[in-house]
Subunit: 147 residues, 4 copies
């Protein structure tokens, strides 16, 4: 894809992480999610999947991977459109390709479009020794008007 | 839609609930999800949304509504294709329409197609005093071959 | 679903059909698409599928069913938000359930949300002697600001 | 993404093009679609968008871009799983990001998963002097069992 390298982040990993801790106190109780990288047009968020993220068969559950996609999109919005906590997901489509076991899952997220009121993104979720693609999602965040 | 009333459930609410308790011990710690109804071609699952399901702004989070959709689809698979715990979601697309506050959210799920290896479903998630549609999802479960 | 019966159409079948003929001259060369009904919160559009809508195996092609979904959504926007031709689809997710043969396919479309700048809809596409569900779609139209 | 470079094509551009001409006689009347490249784990298909692919406002229509995504997925299935014409799309989700004008639109498609019975793919559709991303889609093809 033509890189969206003209999209410059306005917040750092430390700033976004501090904001998530503040606005989502119940969110990250077990430090399950970590912001790993913020770069022009994208970010990487890691899910450290533990027992509470598994479903029958010992694989990481759909809701856990959905949460990874949703949070990574949120990190992209915050870091590129500015620290307004009230952006909301309007649509998310996720495909589950391979089973993931407990352990780190890296969500590499990129901004497909950053408009005034909408951001479209996709994300590849990679896990395991062989770094397989376990899930892929595409989604849209609605960005509230500046006040 | 032409009703799929020829699809007859093979498990009751009590049987599915007992099976979920057994195979998902970590799943329903706080009794957040309740199977309310199983009927020909569909089911209703309720999310009793508490503080841990909220995101900034006090509204029910995307992952919580995704989980409701995913679980309701799972209840449809179990109750109509039989008690094999290993069916997995392959795709789920969700649209978020209105904010939901803490409280009960009813997911009315219907089977759009039940084939030998795939089940397609959709779900309407309804909440609040005025019983608004807060979210809508469509998804696919892959059903493992009979052993 | 809680009916959106409070959504009142502002254009009739004849008015929308005349507008489509005018703004889409290349669109409906063979009278393949017909607006059949406009009602509070929804509409029905028919695709009269002929040879040019078929794919290998003699079944109606994916792009033809996508077009039916897209046009029905457009008819819902025009008839409920007013005659502005410039609304555009931003997202559409479609599931194909059963094969459809040449002949009429009825797309029953309903508005899930009509906001100021976005309309979310879904559509059931029904065909054949037994009136099976052949495809289901969910989509979003972006509505331009009033000038 | 970890490249799927271990996925080797079994058909060439010339072979797939000849097969499309044969099985889709009505499909490519105006030579609107061209297979440009087939490579390990992916392919590129071009839509030469003309007047009949435009919608009001002079931009390439949703159904035309959907067709590009659908055909590119089909070219990936044929070229990587072998020349069985009867694979069918089961799901396709498309996001429209920017307007495209008449002219060439390149669909760069990659296989996210190639299983025995399903292929999951995504596609970036690029157009214009500045080679912008105009649309992005993710989809699934069902592959019939070998006879």
């Amino acid at each position: 894809m033509p890189a969206q390298h003209d999209l410059n982040p306005v917040m750092s990993v430390a700033q976004v992480s501090a904001m998530l801790d503040e606005v989502f106190p119940q969110f990250n109780v077990d430090r399950a999610f970590e912001v790993r990288d913020i770069r022009p047009g994208g970010c990487t968020v890691r899910l450290n999947a533990g027992d509470n993220h598994l479903r029958p068969g010992g694989t990481v559950s759909g809701p856990s991977l959905f949460a990874l996609a949703d949070i990574a999109g949120y990190v992209c919005v915050l870091s590129h459109a500015g620290p307004d906590a009230l952006s909301v997901t309007t649509n998310l489509n996720i495909n589950f390709m391979r089973k993931a076991e407990a352990g780190p899952i890296d969500g590499h997220c990129r901004i497909l479009k950053l408009g005034r009121s909408l951001m479209v993104f996709d994300i590849e979720m990679i896990a395991g020794d062989d770094q397989h693609l376990v899930a892929h999602a595409t989604g849209t965040y609605s960005i509230p008007p500046k006040r």
